[in-house]
């Protein structure tokens, strides 16, 4: 039996989750929500996380009904993400790891999303579309690496949607993307916008006044191309933008045409959370990885394919 606690705070969500052999025992989370028209800045976000992190940590332990002695490993987000919030969370993780005498594990945030998606959906070896405010990548596993087949050449699709929401001052509660989706459901006029796919990659910064249809079609196209390239019959969508039902619907149509299966998780797990870091940490820990304190520095840039995936064949 292996119990891992995971700490996540690379953007505006702070979450701490506990996993025991594939069971999510607790996964509390808080979101830093800014007024309409404003994005979130690193120092303010770090301040938000700082104010609540110890409370959330207590909640995670209480809701799981566990004491620190029951934990086997402390996992935290090494990167990528915003520097100041990443440091805030890493400080607490490093400190409790030493106080409790448990090994530490620095986890790649993107791999956290992938491993949580695999755990919850039980997809076998899917082509992964990772879409969030900070990241847009099409990923396939091959020989101990999560290979990045395609990605945004400028901004993430979620960033594009968030900036659009800011311009028209949509509320950020619970998230700008959610509110865009609700409004889009009532829309009927499709406006033709620049559609920018370059082979496996996409570009979003040219088109800041948008509608979901165009952005999502671009993502479906590059996912399909990666699937064809890998001969894959499964798609897994992870990341906050993955909550979007219209994206899931469009991806579902493409999958049906190819006879492929579509997998997605709900908002508990596609939005940044602590348990996903714990899950990736669980895989890494069980395959013998550990992070020495002196190597536990956080990093704003951390590519998904930099990690050796020692837990898969």
């Amino acid at each position: 039996m292996t119990v891992v606690i995971g700490f996540e705070g690379s953007a505006n969500k702070i979450g701490i989750g506990i996993i025991r052999d594939g069971e999510v025992l607790s996964n509390p989370r808080r979101t830093y929500i800014t007024p309409p028209g404003q994005g979130f800045l690193p120092s303010d976000t770090a301040r938000h996380h700082r104010a609540v992190i110890l409370t959330v940590l207590k909640e995670a332990l209480e809701q799981a009904g566990l004491k620190p002695a029951d934990i086997d490993c402390v996992a935290y987000t090494k990167g990528p993400g915003m520097g100041a919030p990443l440091v805030t969370v890493a400080l607490v993780a490093r400190t409790v790891s030493q106080l409790w005498g448990k090994p530490l594990l620095g986890v790649n945030h993107c791999i956290g999303h992938i491993e949580m998606g695999r755990l919850i959906t039980k997809a076998n070896n899917p082509t992964v579309l990772y879409v969030s405010g900070g990241n847009t990548q099409v990923i396939a596993y091959s020989e101990r690496r999560y290979r990045i087949f395609g990605e945004t050449i400028d901004i993430a699709v979620g960033n594009c949607l968030d900036r659009f929401a800011r311009v028209i001052k949509i509320s950020n509660d619970p998230s700008p993307g959610y509110n865009i989706e609700q409004m889009a459901k009532k829309g009927s006029q499709y406006v033709e916008l620049p559609y920018t796919v370059k082979g496996m990659d996409v570009s979003f910064s040219g088109i800041l006044s948008y509608i979901e249809e165009t952005l999502f079609s671009m993502l479906v196209e590059i996912t399909e191309r990666a699937m064809a390239h890998c001969g894959s019959q499964e798609v897994l969508i992870v990341g906050g933008v993955g909550c979007n039902l219209r994206l899931q619907e469009m991806m579902g149509v493409m999958c049906k045409e190819r006879g492929a299966k579509l997998f997605a998780t709900d908002e508990r797990f596609c939005i940044d959370n602590g348990a996903m870091i714990a899950q990736a940490g669980w895989e890494m820990f069980r395959s013998g990885q550990v992070t020495e304190l002196k190597d536990s520095w956080i990093t704003q840039r951390y590519r998904t394919d930099e990690v050796e995936v020692t837990w898969r064949d």
């Binding site: 520097g83 805030t88 400080l91 005498g101 002196k294």
Partner: protein, 96 residues
């Protein structure tokens, strides 16, 4: 008052030192290991050295400009206070 350039061994740099007492050497070392891994954000012109001696954590900064020094010291104090609060809430450290 020493003329500019004569103080601090003639380096012309601003220096700041901070000493933090801990209940034990073990706890001072825990704080050291939590606070030292992250690199200073890219802006050059500042360096800091964190050490433990007995049960005291010591930090020494050396900077070219007051503004850069203030930001680094401020950040460090915020981080230190979070580490202290964590140790208060979840300590004392388990027996080795």
């Amino acid at each position: 008052m020493a003329a500019a350039g004569e103080a601090n061994g003639g380096t012309g740099k601003l220096e700041f030192s901070l000493d933090v007492p801990f209940p034990s050497s073990r706890e001072a070392t825990i704080a050291l290991r939590s606070l030292s891994p992250d690199k200073e954000p890219r802006k050059g012109g500042i360096s800091k050295l964190i050490t433990v001696s007995g049960s005291t954590l010591s930090v020494r900064w050396s900077a070219d400009e007051a503004r850069i020094l203030r930001v680094s010291v401020n950040s460090f104090l915020d981080h230190l206070s979070l580490v202290l609060e964590t140790m208060e809430m979840f300590g004392p450290p388990v027996a080795v």
